[in-house]
Amino acid sequence: MRSLVFFLRLFSWFSLRHIGKHWFQAMLVLFGIALGAAVFTSVRLSVHASLRSFTSSMNHIAGRTEKVLARPGGFLPESLVSAIINHPSVRNASPMLSGYVQHFGADKEPFLLIGIDPILDRPFRSWQIAKGKPRKVGMWLDLLKEPYTLILGGALARQYGYAPGEKIKLEHSRQTVDFRIVGVLAPENLALAEGGRLALTDIATFQEFTGLYGKIDRIDLRLQPEQTAENFQNIVSTLPPGVIMSSPSERRESGQAMIRAYQLNLSILSFASLFVGMFLVYSLVALNAASRRHELAILRSTGASARLLFLIFLAQGTVFGLAGWLLAIPISSFLIKYLLHGVSQTISTLFVRVTVEQLSLNSWEIFLSFMVTIFISVLAAYLPAREAMQVSPKEALSIAEHSEQADKPTLRLAGLGIFFIVLVWPLSKLPGYAGVPLPGYIATLLLFTGFAMLSPWILEQLGKALAPKLRRLGGMPAYLAGRYIRGSGNRTAISVGALITAVALFVSLVIMIHSFRQTVQLWAYQTVSGDLFATTKMGEVNQFRYPLSPEVIRTLTTLDAPVDLVPNRRYFLNYGKFPYEFELLDVVTFLRYGSYVWLKGPSETAIHRLISGDGVIVSEVFSNRTGLTVGDLFRAQIETSLVELPILGVVRDYRTQGGVVFYAMPHFKRRFHDPKWGGVRFFLRNRNQNLDAAVVSLRREIIEKCGDQLGMISGKELRQSILKVFDETFAITTILLFIAFVIAALGITTTLAVLVLERTSQLNTLYAVGASFGQIRRMIFWESILMVIAGETAGFLCGLILSYLLVFVINRQSFGWTFLYGLDLKALVFSLPLIILTALMAALPAIRLVFRQPPAMLLRER
């Protein structure tokens, strides 16, 4: 205890006072680390909120369900309920229908309508009508007694201002109907699913509203205790063809896995900010260790052990970590407001629908951010602390201001750095594990570390090579700057390392986003071709489960406008736990106007066989995730048919929720069953007319003939919306990138500031021997130019390698897709000088520090 108190006192006198004296640098470092920790924490908390919302939604909807009966891509016959409910192994069974509907005339934001039998469902899900007036026992029975009644989720009731007894008009693809609100759900259990944006109705009403007579989505089961595998088999054997029994956790787990993978990607990206922050801690602690060697030696000579000095510097890192983390709290609370919505929207767009009402503070996430921040701060302080440990008591007698630093041999460090960089190649060839591109991340870390290790050597070489030339270019100040940079050692290199990281991130992300966008654009214009797309109202949000009615199809096939129709049907299925779409379309007509972006097998034979219905083509994502490729057999249960077809080719596809398998619709109908039309895309035959006007006229004709039964979007709008989603998705990436830059700029400011302060007397001596203020300031400025150029050049190289990792390794392992690699030269040419300029701006505060104190005063002090 006494030794702890002694240590704390010593730490306070030796370190805290010093930090207090140099508060400006300390504040910069703190702000940097806080910003990094805040980004890391807010990103993780935001994704966690989405993950929690999704999991809790799935759990509340699954309730106490043990097994689920469903038909992939289709519906179950309702007659199955009485058969299954009387099965001896089945304890309870509850049929369910659900789909998204929207409030007529309101914000059109769809919400989930769940159709259940409230009696059969009782053992499965818990819900209560909120207390209020009017309230009587058995209000829920009104759902059975009276058609078109519902119980509204709390969030919806609040949003639309409805109370029990009032009517709410709901829209579905089939019709618009007034529902009487029987009550509002109390905020517990099932009512918490979908963030309270849901409503419950009786299964009869659901069928009458949606027209799904005789059909149900699924039957949830609770089984008799102590069921054996034989009993399960016994249940399965009684099921009609195409009906499968699965666990409710399967869908939840597949959704969770996708969100977790996204969380990891964002965490890594946000960790980059923290990583850059680590350089800041390193540079300041290293400066302290280097500039206070004399004091350290005195401490040693007065009895302090080497271990004590080591601990003091480690404690410095800890204090920076702790204070930075505390400072991160208010920054996080500000950041999270922006990230929460953006992240949940991205997850809804990319993977699964989530509704995040509010942020939930997760103790594990907070603990994790705390530990990570402290860990990297301590880690950053480790090397300087080791250096401090090696200070000999003899140095106390030295009259030199600074004893010679035992700089590490830059060549050896560079060799290690190159070794790390070389390791990136074999690592990039390794497969990811469970959707996590671990080798890719390790390769990235090695790449950053490698370049950071290489930076002292680069600076040395730069200084060596440029010093004579600089003399010609910028006179003596530039020459001296070059000489200084050459021998400035690891401390300057560290700051350059931070800049390398930031520039590399910038370059690689610019390249990746550009490549991605270009490929998506190509895909959108070739594969998502078409002038007008029509489907049932709210078709997409309901996964196109409601086919077009025969009347609508008749109308669409007899339009006056000269158009070609490509009907399609999309089934949302799972291959194991991997979600994908099975898309049927009229390939012949489609290929007349559009095409696929082929990756493998774009031969004439493959296209001919696709048209002939001899096989399927699969998306790159599907192929990468399932391991199936050209020549393999694709096998799936689709509604009542077991589909087994060879894979003819692999194409690029950037649909967000999993992979895609394409097959010719007419052949599916002939070989399997009538899939019915889920939607239609129209191609205007005359391509020489004003296409926009023709689409408007076509849309008008459809509305005149079909009313508002269809959801329609022009091809142009659809492609624009795809790109808009893309841009929105990368908005978060851009924000994170920007923050990494801010931290890197802080790094430049800190490094230069400490270099200036460290050399105050040297600079004053220069002044004393005749150098002018302007010359000395120019010298500092040249130093920063050299650092920034070195950082940017190495960062650019590092970024090129990183962009390869991102496009071909990390994206493939995370999402299953790759892109056509393309350099965004325009963006790079414009932005790289801008970065130099920004970094130089960051050097200004340091330059202003020179001669803050009168030179005479400083010289007298020595």
């Binding site: 309702e78 007659s79 309920v81 009485s82 409910i85 009387n86 001896p88 304890r91 039998d117 409230p118 009696i119 059969l120 009782r122 053992p123 818990s126 819900w127 209560q128 009508i129 026992v137 058995g138 209000m139 829920w140 029975l141 059975l144 007694k145 009276e146 058609p147 078109y148 009786d202 299964i203 009869a204 009403t205 069928q207 009458e208 007579y213 005789g214 008799q224 205790p225």
Partner: protein, 387 residues
């Protein structure tokens, strides 16, 4: 053309519905209570015809088929059993005119509830289970087939009422029974030829008949062990629309099968102030199957002992003295097991006591004994949450 008593009329008054087994249905009725208008009322003679009236009486709000009995296994173990089916109509017949067209197959006006219980008297335990479902898509319902067998079923529990015999089947994860019941007497019509008054108003009544002595044989499974059993059972079938009369807090219902081949049914409607409602009554069945209606003044029930439920904390009587004055009958009734309470949170939500009892006593100075069932309601607080 409806029978004269099947007047379709609207009535707002809260009158006493009858029902011994209405005990449990008391809350069911509240739970499922709808607007009174449009339901059929029982206001006169019931003119019951069989097998037609073994079936369902759509248009009346409430109906039940109630089986209780005592059986012995070959090794001498005694068991009591209960199997009850309730039908509750959610809306009057005319309401279906407002249904969407076409209507879903799930749309129905009827809800069915069922309770099954076993009293393992030797093992000293009472097990019960419950089921409920809407009367649609073959999940529950009542049907008369071409062989004149009426089937009342809910999921895989059923009661089949045929011209010669009846068949009961219920299976749960803890117990099951499969019993064949042979009536030894014709159906007994309670009250005035089945028109059983339960209050002052003419519509405060039900149509009510019973099979008071059913020879019973079959199998009973308890925790995986199956016993061959035989004994005697009682069946009630009753339907009505009228809700409970205000002031009634519960009732005690007795169905007693006596050794002299007579049977006795008595129900006592208890009022808030501790008095007995005048509508309380009973029926005595002689060995030849002739019945005699008993008015409230013709019998008296004294409670001799009570038992407090550790689950609901309700205090139930478990020993009685029943005197039937015109028959010079003095009976001592004692429950065969104290804890025969049912907490039916998954269906009706009612907590009640329904249990096997033993009878000893005298009738016209002749010593008699017997077995029976007693139902006690209103002793515990009713469940007040739908979910």
């Amino acid at each position: 053309m409806k029978a004269p008593f099947l007047q379709q009329k609207s009535h707002k008054r809260k009158t006493l519905i009858f029902g011994i087994l209405l005990l449990s249905l008391g809350t069911v009725l509240q739970l499922f209570a709808a607007d009174d208008s449009g339901y059929f009322s029982v206001t006169g003679p019931c003119n019951l015809e069989f097998p037609k009236d073994h079936g369902s009486h759509s248009g009346y709000r409430t109906e039940w088929w109630y089986y209780t009995g005592n059986v012995d296994s070959e090794n001498g173990n005694r068991f009591g059993f209960q199997l009850t089916f309730f039908r509750s109509q959610l809306s009057p017949a005319g309401a279906s005119r407002h249904w969407p067209k076409p209507a879903s197959q799930w749309r129905t006006q009827h809800i069915y509830l069922a309770h099954a219980a076993i009293s393992d008297l030797a093992g000293g335990r009472h097990l019960h289970a419950e089921e409920s479902s809407r009367g649609a898509l073959g999940l529950a319902g009542v049907a008369l087939n071409e062989t004149r067998i009426t089937t009342v079923h809910l999921k895989n529990w059923y009661a089949k009422i045929g011209p010669e015999n009846q068949h009961l089947k219920a299976a749960t994860d803890r117990f099951a029974f499969d019993l064949e019941l042979i009536p030894t007497k014709k159906p007994i019509l309670h009250g005035e030829a089945g028109y059983s008054r339960k209050g002052r108003a003419s519509e405060s009544a039900s149509c009510y008949y019973s099979f008071t002595r059913l020879k019973t044989r079959g199998s009973l499974t308890l925790n995986g062990k199956t016993f061959a059993v035989e004994g005697l059972s009682w069946m009630d079938h009753e339907f009505s629309t009228a809700p409970l009369e205000p002031g009634i807090v519960g009732w005690d219902w007795f169905s007693l099968i006596l050794s002299d081949r007579t049977e006795l049914m008595v129900y006592v409607l208890r009022q808030k102030d501790g008095t007995i409602n005048p509508a309380s009554s009973g029926t005595f069945v002689d060995p030849d199957g002739n019945s005699r209606h008993l008015t409230k003044e013709e019998f008296r029930v004294l409670v001799l002992d009570s038992w407090k439920s550790p689950n609901s904390e309700a205090l139930y009587p478990v020993r009685w003295r029943l005197s039937v004055f015109p028959l010079s009958m003095e009976l001592s009734i004692v429950s065969n097991l104290a804890d025969q309470e049912l907490q039916t949170t998954e269906s009706t939500g009612v907590t009640y006591w329904e249990g096997s009892v033993s009878i000893t006593g005298t009738a016209n100075d002749h010593r008699i004994e017997g077995q029976g069932y007693v139902e006690l309601t209103g002793y515990a607080k009713a469940f007040d949450a739908p979910m």
